[in-house]
């Protein structure tokens, strides 16, 4: 059916509500890529089989990701009139138990993580009410992972089925688009977005309303809107999850934006390495067309709009807007100088507005609840929320959506639960390869565009990698630079040649061959590449180097002067030893050594021949008695050759 009038939308909404709050138990498995990777698909199939076998009358479906990836697979259960309950770390072996309980109207209490009594989808007039009950189960926002969070972008993620447009409409989906197209003028929409203070979520933080206004002002009968979904920072996957968990919110955002600036065609440029996101977006576009929400005369108005998907060709630099446009046009993904900006001359030479996935995600709530409402979230000049992918050496990993201005400490410690290894957290790396490392003593820094920039990092698309004392900062800088060096398009000299020379120096330092002159050259190069590169990729590529030199210079100095890697990471600077008092003479290390560097035998204290050892660490991994230690710049006393272990030890 085609949705033309408000009543049509209401009818679909009512049908959708029946799926979200059915008169029988609703069981939904979190099946975004993270859930599937953790075994969610197996759980789903096992549930399907068990429900059928036991003849339980329940509604089995899927959802996206609720954000707490370290607890996947997640399963939601809604008993009629009761709160939504989230089960965590569900294994397929536990499915029978779950089904038995559900059949009796009970819950498998040991699997329960939290409950949701009502949920504010933001696009509904009032929160969706599930029910009260289950006194002993904590509310979702009583779980410390969710305590600092506010879900605006992830308002539907993990709750609705991303493959069912009716469920999206059930929670108020497309009502903002209806309002925009039938009640608001393009100028009013742009004004509302400007009022919200929303800034581009791709990383640079340009005011979205202003950007829209630029494209709107251009006089052209053809204009385009583009969704930049070429997410590629190592350790960052916010956009993937947004597309997989709630694809319609992106389509709705683009629809509103297109109407506001006068575009009739939209493109979503998704990296090809996101097959599930592409699949769900395609399905969402197909459904939107069936319901008349894309295509000709949307909501019976004179406005027509369509969206196409373009799969990226595997270059990180295509996240840069001019390179992205070139890529859609079928040319190599190489940035070009601006101006002209895409707003003036973009895709096929026509005015084009490009926004990041997450920017588009914020549009529907802004239109529905007003720019004023949005501007109250976050802090001045940094309004709204930002989704971060919290990864690395932190206890709880996943997607954390917090109001801008939240201190790093709250994200890493309250949400993330601090160090995963028990070792002290040393730094976080934000903004991916274009970002920088922020040391633990600056964790009170509010996370927003301006504070991160002042600390030498950037917001970027929202990657947040936690590092502990076992992370070598020189090696980290080398790693990130290796990434950008590889992804440089090769057009301008500083980025193409400069990053390679910087990488060479870093490699030299991690091998213990660096000199103080090298460090000076590195700093000079970093400054030059940053100041003179053509596009954002080169201009930000030195950030990991500059920030680690700024905050961790002593680590560089130790590598250079003392030939010591304090974190014991750089292979050329570490030695492995077998502690004589701990060795039990089991011979496992000797047998596992790939270069026959270990001498020993049954009942003998084993010793490592340092001249043969390649510091691969295999002996340390296999030793059942923790007798192997790793040192840098230090030695321990070991026998010259294998000697018998003292009796009675």
């Amino acid at each position: 059916m085609k949705i033309r009038r408000f009543e049509d939308l209401e009818n679909v909404r009512k049908a959708g509500i029946k799926k979200l709050l059915p008169d029988k138990p609703r069981v939904a498995v979190g099946l975004a890529t993270c859930g599937i990777a953790a075994g969610g698909q197996d759980v789903y199939e096992a549930l399907e089989a068990a429900l059928k076998k036991k003849g339980v009358n329940a509604f089995l479906t899927k959802t996206g990701c609720f954000g707490i990836c370290s607890e996947e697979p997640l399963v939601n259960i809604v008993m009629p009139g009761k709160p939504l309950v989230i089960l965590h770390k569900v294994q397929k072996e536990e499915v029978d138990l779950i089904v038995e309980k559900v059949a009796k109207g009970e819950l498998p209490e040991e699997k329960v993580l939290c409950k949701i009594e009502e949920w504010d989808h933001l696009t509904l007039d009032k929160p969706l009410y599930y029910g009260r009950g289950y006194k002993n189960i904590p509310l979702w926002n009583e779980i410390s992972y969710f305590k600092p969070q506010k879900k605006v972008v992830l308002r539907n993620a993990g709750i609705i089925n991303p493959e069912d447009i009716e469920e999206y409409i059930a929670v108020g989906g497309y009502s903002a688009a209806y309002k925009a197209l039938t009640e608001m003028s393009p100028d009013e929409i742009v004004e509302e977005v400007k009022k919200s203070g929303l800034r581009g979520r791709g990383g640079a933080g340009f005011p979205t309303g202003l950007k829209w206004e630029f494209t709107k002002k251009e006089d052209s009968n053809i204009k385009y809107v583009i969704c930049n979904a070429d997410e590629g920072d190592p350790g960052a996957y916010m956009n993937r999850n947004e597309m997989e968990s709630d694809p319609h919110m992106i389509i709705e955002g683009m629809l509103i934006g297109a109407y506001a600036i006068g575009a009739t065609e939209g493109y979503i440029y998704v990296r090809a390495e996101y097959p599930l996101a592409i699949e769900r977006l395609k399905l969402a576009i197909k459904q939107a067309k069936e319901y008349g929400l894309l295509g000709k005369h949307i909501f019976g108005t004179g406005f027509s709009f369509d969206i196409r998907i373009v799969a990226g060709a595997g270059a990180f630099v295509c996240g840069e807007e001019t390179a992205l446009i070139a890529s859609i046009e079928g040319k190599p993904g190489r940035p070009r100088p601006r101006p002209p900006f895409p707003a003036q001359k973009g895709l096929w030479g026509k005015p084009t507005n490009i926004n990041n996935v997450e920017t588009w995600c914020n549009i529907a709530p802004i239109i529905k609840k007003g720019g004023e409402w949005f501007s109250r979230i976050g802090v001045e000049k940094n309004t709204g929320t930002k989704v971060f992918s919290l990864v690395g050496k932190v206890k709880r990993t996943g997607l954390v959506e917090v109001p801008l201005g939240t201190p790093i400490r709250e994200i890493v410690y309250t949400a993330g639960g601090g160090s995963a290894t028990g070792k002290k957290v040393k730094a976080v790396q934000t903004g991916g390869p274009s970002g920088g490392c922020i040391p633990e003593n600056l964790f009170d820094l509010p996370v927003d565009y301006d504070h991160l920039a002042s600390a030498g990092s950037i917001m970027g698309s929202g990657g947040m990698v936690v590092m502990d004392e076992d992370t070598c900062m020189v090696d980290t800088a080398r790693y990130f630079l290796g990434f950008t060096l590889d992804e440089s398009c090769g057009k301008c000299v500083p980025c193409r040649e400069g990053t390679k020379r910087m990488y060479d120096i870093l490699e030299k330092i991690t091998k213990g061959q660096g000199t103080e002159e090298d460090l000076l050259t590195l700093e000079e190069l970093a400054e030059t590449v940053k100041a003179t590169s053509l596009c954002g990729l080169g201009q930000t590529a030195p950030n990991p180097v500059i920030s680690t030199i700024r905050y961790f210079k002593d680590e560089y100095t130790k590598h250079i002067k003392d030939k010591v890697c304090p974190a014991r990471v750089c292979r050329a600077l570490i030695d492995y030893f077998i502690v004589p008092d701990k060795c039990r003479g089991c011979t496992i290390c000797m047998k596992s050594c790939p270069v026959d560097a270990i001498d020993g035998g049954p009942g003998l204290i084993h010793i490592i021949d340092q001249t043969k050892c390649i510091a691969c660490g295999t002996c340390m991994d296999v030793c059942p008695f923790d007798a192997v230690i790793k040192l840098s710049g230090e030695k321990i006393e070991t026998p010259d050759k294998p000697i018998p272990i003292k009796k009675g030890r």
């Binding site: 270059a315 101006p339 992804e487 090769g490 057009k491 000299v493 400069g498 020379r501 030059t528």
Partner: protein
């Protein structure tokens, strides 16, 4: 006609056409700025990063930028050769010296700006068809694409390992042998040679283009595809007359006829 604007360079006021590139203004009035990828005939590219200037006043962004991509507008004020620019430029020259160790042109240019040594290891590619002289300014690729409309050459690979050559390093069947690439190359990296009836683009995977023989004197004078292309632009009558003649013989023919006419004789066709 574009309107004339006034911009300030190093404290002095100059006139420019609105939207003209600042580098073009500098080149015209004789302000020395090093440049490798700029060519008036081509769209601004902004790859060599040598033409850095600093915007100190104006409607747009302030700070260091490339003058080839900077547009002249009223009120724009820039300075050249600031301490920072000289520092960055020196490092860029060091990178160039390492990238194209065999290029005499790069060595001379760098020396002119005070850089005679590089701290970086020389990038020597064995059997490089461009003789380790290419700096990837892209002028050859752009002239082939933008001006000739041929696109016989392009970039291969990316990042530090980017090269310029024909697709798949195979002989090009679209190259017209015009030699514009050789003409624009700032480092003399591209090798081209006319051998008997063929023009051989030695740097471009040995691409061969047939040469046209002059029907009068018998020498080979131009690549066939270029001659054929030129004939399509000529008046059909003149074309019949001048076709397949080398420039010298063409001149001879026309001069002779002019003389005959001035002496009151009517020249025979082809005479």
């Amino acid at each position: 006609m574009k309107k004339t604007v006034r911009i300030k360079i190093n404290g002095k006021i100059y006139e420019a056409k609105e939207e003209e590139s600042v580098l073009s203004v500098c080149n015209r009035v004789g302000i020395d700025i090093p440049q490798l990828c700029y060519n008036e005939a081509l769209a601004p590219y902004g790859a060599c990063r040598l033409c850095l200037v600093e915007v100190v006043n104006g409607p747009g962004k302030k700070g260091i930028t490339t003058s080839c991509t900077l547009r002249a507008v009223d009120g724009l004020e820039i300075v050249t050769d600031t301490e920072k620019i000289v520092k960055y430029r020196s490092i860029l020259f060091e990178l160039y010296l390492a990238q194209a160790p065999n290029s005499e042109e790069i060595r001379e240019m760098a020396a002119k700006y005070g850089v005679t040594k590089t701290r970086f290891s020389k990038k020597v590619k064995p059997l490089d068809p461009l003789g380790n002289k290419c700096v990837l300014c892209g002028q050859c690729v752009r002239v082939c694409n933008e001006i000739m409309g041929t696109a016989a050459i392009g970039y291969i690979g990316r990042a530090f390992y980017t090269r310029i050559n024909t697709p798949y390093l195979e002989k090009s069947d679209v190259c017209m042998g015009c030699g514009a690439c050789v003409e624009v190359c700032p480092t003399g990296a591209i090798q081209m040679e006319d051998i008997q009836d063929k023009r051989v683009m030695k740097s471009w995977s040995g691409t061969e283009v047939k040469l046209k023989k002059c029907k009068s004197c018998g020498r080979y004078f131009a690549p066939e595809p270029i001659a054929e292309f030129a004939y399509t632009k000529l008046d059909p009558e003149i074309k019949e007359e001048l076709k397949d003649l080398c420039p010298d013989c063409r001149r001879k023919l026309l001069s002779k006829r002019e003389i005959l006419i001035s002496q009151g004789e009517v020249p025979m066709n082809g005479e």
